[in-house]
Structure formats: structure tokens, C-alpha cells
């Protein structure tokens, strides 16, 4: 479980996040949704410690991350897996080397055991025969899957996914969403997905937080999301024609 208490962040004079508090539950896919520029990625970067907030705390197992010393922070980070929007695979390393990378840095096992572990992670994300290719030789969807494999190599307690569906076709998006959901259930991770893709929200969202103008505007589950009377949330959720059709079907086709 990760808890955020009164988090505020600004860049120069621009207030990006204001007084955000939330609890991200273990074993669930927690989704942070909002328009582009609403501050959801900044929130994720504050939670993983890439940004230091001006106010507020991020609690991992009750301990405040930004008040920890370097070694404590390092220990927490070794329990975090993150899938980046652009996958962030290392260009000069092959697929298998990318997945093995955290193990080579922190693992205490032999090279063959590391390779076995990396292969099992790749198998888990359905990539079995591409391990000697370089990231540039993979499609966007495959890169995401390798990114997930690398994120789960160290058996993380916390899984962060920043826009996991960006640049992917709808079918591949569903594959990635399902994978994130399965891994969350299988490993019991506290998963936080940053997205503005409503298909993804409907596929995997169990606990949803809507960020608007840098504030937590709404919180709930999928059913509550569809039936909310919050105007800003509705404007965001039902912006697409597909979601408007869903809404019409729910309300009797008016």
C-alpha cells in the first residue's frame, strides 16, 4: 500500500499539484486519470521520488519516502517496478540484457540463474524468441512488454505504469492492460497506472482517481465513474463518442 498525504508540487511559479491525498491499495490496479497537463505524471514522479514535493508526504509501508536517507530510499526503489511511456529500454542492450539489468546490479545469483529468471519474465509477457534483439528492432507493443518484463524481474511490491497504452493499437492496448491486471493479481503488487485512455480505465480500473487542475477532483470505482454527476469528470470520461454511446445505452438511449 502507498499513501499520499497533502502532496503539493510547483515548478517555479506554476502550481502543478495542490494538496493531494490518496491511498493506493495493494493487489489492485489503481488508476490516476486526467487530461494532458493535469499533473498526473508529476504525481507519479513525486510518488516514485523523481521529484521532491514542496509539501506533503508519500508513505511506503508507513515510512515517509522523502524523509528517508539514501540507503532507505534505494531499498524502497529496488521494490519498485516501472513501465515508462516510451518503455525506456536501454538502446545498447539486447532484450535479455535489458530484463537482466536489475538482477546484474542487485542480484546475488549466478549468471545462468539470472538468465533463467529473465527468460521466465519474458515468457510471462509472451516474448520468447526475441531475447537477442535490440529494442529498436521491436514493435511498440513488444517494447512495452519487455518494459513490463524488466519491471517485474525483481518481484516488485509496487508497479507504476505511465501511459502504458500510448501509441498502441486498441488490440495491443488490451493485451498490455490484461497483462498489468494479471501481474497485479499474481504478484499482489500495489499498481498505479497513469492514463487518459478510457478503454484502459474500463478494462482494468478498480480504484480510480481523477486529477483536474492539479487537484484530486474525484475518487471511486468503475461503476461510480459511469454514474458520477461530477461535471468535470463527465466532460473528461464522455469526451469520446464510444463512451457517449455507453452512457446513452446505460440511460436508456435518450
Amino acid at each position: 500500500m502507498i499513501e499520499v498525504q497533502g502532496l503539493s508540487k510547483k515548478f517555479g511559479d506554476a502550481q502543478v499539484l495542490t494538496d493531494i491525498s490518496a491511498v493506493f491499495q495493494q493487489g489492485k490496479v489503481n488508476q490516476v486519470i486526467g487530461k494532458s497537463g493535469s499533473g498526473k505524471s508529476v504525481l507519479a514522479k513525486c510518488i516514485v521520488g523523481l521529484y521532491t514535493p514542496e509539501e506533503g508526504r508519500v508513505l511506503y509501508r508507513g515510512g515517509s519516502f522523502h524523509e528517508m536517507d539514501v540507503e532507505e530510499k534505494r531499498a524502497i526503489r529496488q521494490r519498485i517496478g516501472m513501465l515508462f511511456q516510451g518503455s525506456a529500454l536501454f538502446d545498447s542492450l539486447t532484450v535479455i540484457e535489458n530484463v537482466m539489468f536489475p538482477l546484474r546490479m542487485f542480484g546475488k545469483t549466478s549468471r545462468s540463474e539470472m538468465e533463467d529468471r529473465a527468460h521466465s519474465c519474458l515468457k510471462r509477457v509472451n516474448i520468447v524468441d526475441k531475447d537477442q534483439l535490440y529494442p529498436a528492432e521491436l514493435s511498440g507493443g513488444m517494447q512495452k512488454r519487455v518494459g513490463i518484463a524488466r519491471a517485474i524481474t525483481m518481484n516488485p511490491e509496487y508497479l507504476f505504469c505511465d501511459e502504458p497504452n500510448s501509441g498502441l493499437d486498441p488490440q495491443t492496448s488490451i493485451v498490455i492492460d490484461d497483462l498489468i491486471k494479471e501481474i497485479t493479481e499474481e504478484f499482489g503488487t500495489t499498481t498505479i497506472v497513469i492514463t487518459h485512455d478510457m478503454n484502459s480505465v474500463m478494462e482494468t480500473g478498480e480504484h480510480i482517481i481523477f486529477i483536474h487542475k492539479g487537484r484530486k477532483w474525484w475518487e471511486g470505482d468503475r461503476d461510480q465513474l459511469l454514474n458520477s454527476d461530477n461535471p468535470e469528470l463527465n466532460e473528461f470520461v464522455f469526451a469520446g463518442s464510444l463512451m457517449r454511446q455507453v452512457k446513452r445505452a446505460m440511460t436508456g438511449g435518450a
Binding site: 514522479k45 516514485v48 521520488g49 523523481l50 539514501v70 530510499k73 534505494r74 531499498a75 524502497i76 526503489r77 529496488q78 519498485i80 516501472m82 515508462f84 511511456q85 516510451g86 525506456a88 529500454l89 536501454f90 538502446d91 539489468f101 536489475p102 546484474r104 546490479m105 542487485f106 507504476f160
Partner: protein, 246 residues
């Protein structure tokens, strides 16, 4: 006032770079790779420049001191002194700042804009240490060898040009390069080389590490890395010459 911000952030980055390595063996293998990439692969340009510059120094020295009052061996002496004291350690370092510095800034800058440095940080890896320390160690170890090769080839180039064009006799030239030789001058040159290697790597890495934006900004960082490395090398050259030679 922005200059103080950059100087402060540069020193903080250098401090982080020397943080405890997660796995020493991995850092060492990266250091060997960097020695090949940044050092061995620069050998061609260093050799070419050194030989031609040595030749030019010899010809220019001869044409400028063509007086019966000045003995012929002075050409060899001047070529050796120019090469060891200034040309090889400083000019070659400036050229390496262009080649190696832009490479470092572009590589690290690309990693920054593609979020690969964030990925390292989130894994709990000291990204500055992992990316920059092997480059610092590699250049500080390999550059003195490059400069020694440069010294040899420059003097050799000078001798070859002088003898082949007939402007200086081989015996006179060799007497000149042996005359009044002070081994300390080589120590001085190599000391400068090691410090310049540190400057090239850290200044270039700084510009790459704090790149913000996209590919255009990576290009800008690369250019800045070369410009600032050159400026700092020139300033450091003045200070080191004052400290070590006078």
C-alpha cells in the same frame, strides 16, 4: 547569477558521481568499454593531427628563425618543446573535447530525454555514478597514453618533414630534441592531460545529464558541452601552467 547555479549543480553532480557503486565489477567492465570507445577509437584522429602538426611546427620554426646566429638544432628543440609543453596535452585535449565531449553529452542527453536515466534512478541505481564514473576513469587512464603517442608522432612528423624537405639535417634535429630535455616537462604535460580528461568528461556529462526536451535539445547540449569544455580547459591550462611551471 545563473552561472553560480550551474557551477553548484555541476559540483553536486560530481559528488553524486563518486557515490558508492552498486556493483564494482559492472562498473569496471563499463570502464573498459569506455576506454575503447573514448580512447582507442580516438587514436586515428590523434595520430593524424599530431603527425601533421609536428611537421608544420618544424617548417614554421625553420622559416621563422632562419638566421645564421641561430643554430640548426634549435628547430628540433623548438618542435619538442612546443609539442610536449603545449601542443600534445592542450591542443589534442581541445580536439578530444570536440570528439569525446560531444559523444558523451549526446549519449547521456539521449538517455535523459528517453527517460532511461529515470529508469535507472527508479531501480535504485546511482545513475550519475553508473553513467559518468566509468567515463571519467576511462579517459583519465587512457588519455595520457594518447598524449604520449601524440608527442612521439608529432616529433616524428616534424623530423620527417624537416629531413624530407631538406630544411634541417637529421643529426641536427635529433640533437635538438635531446638538448636540454627535462623529464619534468613530460610529467607536467601528463598532469595537465589527466586534469583535462576529468574536465572534458564531467563538463560534457553535466550538459548531457541535465538535458531537457527532445532531440533538438540533445544537439544543443552537445554543442554546449564542447564549448564549455574548451573554455574550462583553456582556463585550467593557464592556472596549471602558472602552478606547475613557474
Amino acid at each position: 547569477m545563473k552561472i553560480f547555479f550551474h557551477i553548484g549543480r555541476y559540483f553536486l553532480l560530481v559528488r553524486d558521481t563518486f557515490g558508492r557503486p552498486e556493483r564494482l565489477s559492472l562498473y569496471w567492465s563499463r570502464t573498459l568499454e569506455e576506454m575503447d570507445l573514448l580512447g582507442v577509437k580516438s587514436l586515428g584522429i590523434v595520430a593524424l593531427l599530431s603527425a601533421f602538426m609536428g611537421a608544420v611546427i618544424t617548417i614554421q620554426t625553420k622559416t621563422n628563425i632562419d638566421s645564421p646566429l641561430i643554430q640548426a638544432w634549435v628547430v628540433g628543440f623548438a618542435t619538442r618543446q612546443s609539442t610536449i609543453l603545449e601542443f600534445s596535452p592542450t591542443i589534442i585535449s581541445l580536439i578530444l573535447a570536440g570528439k569525446v565531449g560531444s559523444n558523451i553529452a549526446a549519449e547521456i542527453g539521449s538517455m535523459r530525454v528517453k527517460e532511461q536515466i529515470d529508469a535507472l534512478d527508479i531501480m535504485g541505481i546511482n545513475s550519475a555514478g553508473y553513467l559518468i564514473l566509468p567515463k571519467i576513469v576511462a579517459t583519465m587512464l587512457i588519455n595520457p597514453f594518447l598524449i604520449m603517442i601524440s608527442m612521439f608522432l608529432s616529433i616524428f612528423g616534424g623530423w620527417l618533414a624537416g629531413v624530407q624537405t631538406g630544411i634541417v639535417d637529421s643529426t641536427d634535429f635529433i640533437y635538438g630534441i635531446q638538448s636540454g630535455f627535462k623529464p619534468y616537462h613530460v610529467v607536467y604535460a601528463l598532469t595537465k592531460t589527466v586534469i583535462f580528461a576529468f574536465i572534458i568528461t564531467t563538463v560534457s556529462a553535466y550538459h548531457g545529464f541535465y538535458t531537457q526536451g527532445g532531440t533538438r535539445e540533445v544537439g544543443i547540449s552537445s554543442t554546449r558541452a564542447v564549448v564549455f569544455s574548451n573554455v574550462v580547459i583553456l582556463f585550467a591550462n593557464l592556472v596549471l601552467t602558472q602552478l606547475l611551471l613557474i
